[in-house]
């Protein structure tokens, strides 16, 4: 310092200026360091960013899986994505918005990491890259973890999952078949799921329509099912179609999806779905279940037949049983619905052999699964044949209900009055006559298994199918002879004229046929109890069980 003291005032002046500049630089560096520390919440986990101009903040090459903000230069990037606050959480819903671009006004190059992806903002555009993992596919680490057990299946693998994530599948009917189909497709990771139904959830649906809960009774099936699917997989896009499928909207709805699942419960809708799939060139996964039996096939795929090729003429309406009439064991549509999900996954992912030109038949009572060979495409089919009459332009004009003589719903058609009105009494009138003490016979003509569910006191069960054979028994009843307590009746009672017979069934259909039969077979005093037991519950006794 002595030498400096002795130096010339010019040199001292120059030195002072240098010291000042040095101090300014130091404070600038310190400020920058502070800024750096404030911006980067340094993780204990290592960070490594791939790319030619990347800044390495740590030296380990492992991924890290926490959301962080880092200062970042630029990187090798492939996809553009949109960040949002929601993205900061692992597994957040925001991931579903991937591929949308949003500008960023700040213009600084900031990136954050989520689930091993690096989300980077460069020049107002957000981009995504994957750290130092070699990019052999488009599955991010979260997706890999989530679907790992499927990726491990050699026949399915990464390609299958990628295809599935890109696919859109439409499920028509959110009931017994649609419930398991939707749950499995949502869980398996399809890209987009469409749900079609116009019904609301009812109490008697719950035993088989397992996607709906007690709390959903009264709610629309589509809303309830969509919520359940989203709860399983928040990345899934769910489209809700509340109006149900009709000839007027079928082509439009079906055109938006890759694969169609027929999970409906009625004949005209099955023809409609088939036709719309054919004219729009979509494969159709068709399932049906009733009682203890189920059926499954894939129509209009790989030059296989369509529904009309197999069933060009609809069956007579009397041959079509519905779940509300014939019943269904809940697990049966459950199995078929799962198989429908399986076929849809196979079609969407390009895995295995879809069940085209073959029909699977399930018999739950004997646990037998049969697979049979079906005819091929019918070249004269009116929809998929060589000279089709139906097209996407004219399909909406086809009257499916008239074609099949049945309704586009499995709801019970209105009771038909077949008898002269004087042959019937209302439920209330019948009750009044009972209270007056009129001696009569009450015949319940339902099948024995239905009679076992609930029956009116003092009724006698003579199933409609056994009517002819049991006329002698009916005669005895009308004479006042109870076969089991015959001694109790004195002969003078037996000599009296026949007692009136009242006939009841579930909904008042078979009872009318019974009255018709008995009146023309020697029982003129026979009356129909109009509307059956359902009407009895409605008008006389609300506590009488309805099924």
């Amino acid at each position: 310092m002595g030498e400096i003291d002795r130096a010339s005032p010019e040199i001292l002046k120059e030195l002072e200026a240098l010291r000042k500049a040095n101090a300014e630089l130091l404070s600038e560096i310190s400020a920058l360091q502070k800024q750096l520390q404030g911006t980067v919440e340094m993780s204990s986990k290592p960070i490594c960013i791939d790319g030619p101009n990347a800044i390495s903040l740590e030296h380990n090459t492992k991924f890290f899986s926490q959301t962080q903000h880092i200062l970042y230069g630029s990187s090798s990037v492939q996809e553009s994505v949109a960040p949002s606050e929601a993205k900061l959480e692992v597994g957040s819903k925001a991931r579903a918005n991937i591929n949308e671009e949003t500008p960023n006004s700040q213009g600084i190059s900031v990136a954050h990491l989520e689930n091993d992806w690096i989300y980077e903002d460069v020049g107002g555009c957000i981009r995504k890259s994957m750290g130092n993992c070699e990019r052999l596919h488009n599955l991010d680490p979260y997706t890999i973890s989530r679907y790992s057990r499927q990726l491990l299946v050699p026949a399915f693998g990464v390609k299958g999952q990628e295809n599935l994530l890109k696919s859109s599948i439409l499920i028509i009917g959110a009931g017994g078949l649609g419930s398991p189909a939707a749950l499995y497709l949502a869980a398996a990771g399809v890209g987009c799921l469409g749900l079609v139904d116009h019904d609301v959830v009812e109490l008697d649906n719950l035993h088989r329509q397992v996607i709906h809960t007690e709390g959903a009774v009264g709610e629309t099936k589509v809303k309830s099912a969509a919520a359940a699917c989203r709860a399983i997989n928040s990345f899934l896009k769910v489209n809700e179609h509340y109006s149900g499928l009709q000839a007027s909207n079928a082509v439009n709805i079906i055109s938006k999806y890759d694969i169609i699942v027929d999970a409906t419960d009625n004949l005209p809708t099955r023809y409609l779905i088939n036709d719309a799939c054919v004219v729009m060139g979509k494969p159709l996964v068709s399932g049906a279940a009733l009682g203890t039996e189920g059926q499954l096939t894939v129509y209009h795929h790989d030059d296989g037949p369509c529904y009309r090729c197999i069933f060009p003429v609809p069956p007579p309406p009397d041959a079509c049983q519905s779940c509300s009439d014939a019943g269904v064991l809940g697990v049966v549509p459950g199995i078929i619905g799962c198989l429908q999900a399986l076929e849809a996954i196979k079609l969407a992912s390009g895995t295995g052999e879809p069940l085209s030109s073959r029909l699977l038949i399930l018999d739950a009572l004997t646990t037998s699964v049969q697979k049979v060979k079906l005819r091929g495409r019918n070249h004269s089919c009116i929809v998929c044949g060589d000279a089709p009459q139906l097209s996407r332009e004219n399909l909406h004009q086809f009257d499916y209900e008239a074609f099949t003589s049945s309704l586009m719903s499995d709801k019970i058609p209105q009771r038909k009055q077949m008898l002269p009105l004087s042959y019937g009494v209302s439920c209330k009138e019948y009750k009044r006559r009972c209270e007056e003490g009129e001696l009569h016979v009450l015949l319940d003509v339902r099948d024995a298994h239905q009679y076992a569910i609930s029956a009116l006191p003092n009724s006698v069960n003579v199933p409609f199918s056994q009517l002819k054979e049991r006329v002698p028994q009916i005669q005895d009843l009308a004479k006042g002879i109870d076969l089991e307590v015959e001694e109790a009746y004195p002969t003078e009672v037996l000599a009296q004229s026949l007692r009136p017979i009242y006939v009841i069934c579930r909904r008042g259909h078979d009872s009318q046929k019974t009255v018709q039969f008995l009146r023309s077979n020697g029982f003129p005093d026979t009356f129909d109890i109009v509307g059956g037991l359902e009407c009895w519950t409605r008008e006389v006794d609300h506590h009488f069980p309805k099924y």
Binding site: G178, D265, R270, A288, L290, V313, C323, L359, D410
Partner: protein
């Protein structure tokens, strides 16, 4: 000729609610094979219990019924002209619509 006949998809209701029937039937002209046309008539006359119109229409099965001979659609085998042999299985199945 011994055959196994099965009625499914609700058709069993027309056959006394019995799904599987082991039957013994002789081809009318003494041949060793039986045409489906002949078998259908035999079924109508011997097994069918009620509502024949729910099983047959004209001389064939009603619309909505599939006939499978040894797990194969009878359309591929000649329909009414298809033949069955000793110990064959013929399934009559009504298409289901429920869900």
């Amino acid at each position: 000729m011994q055959l196994t006949l099965e009625f499914k998809g609700g058709l069993e209701l027309l056959f006394g609610s019995v799904k599987v029937h082991q039957i013994e039937v002789e081809p009318s002209d003494g041949k060793d094979k039986l045409k489906l046309q002949e078998l259908l008539i035999w079924v109508r006359n011997h097994l069918l219990k009620e509502r024949p119109e729910m099983f047959m229409k004209g001389n064939s099965v009603r619309p909505g019924v599939l006939v499978l001979i040894n797990d194969c659609d009878w359309e591929l085998l000649g329909q009414l002209d298809a033949v069955v042999d000793e110990k064959d299985t013929v399934v009559f199945i009504s298409t289901l619509h429920g869900g």
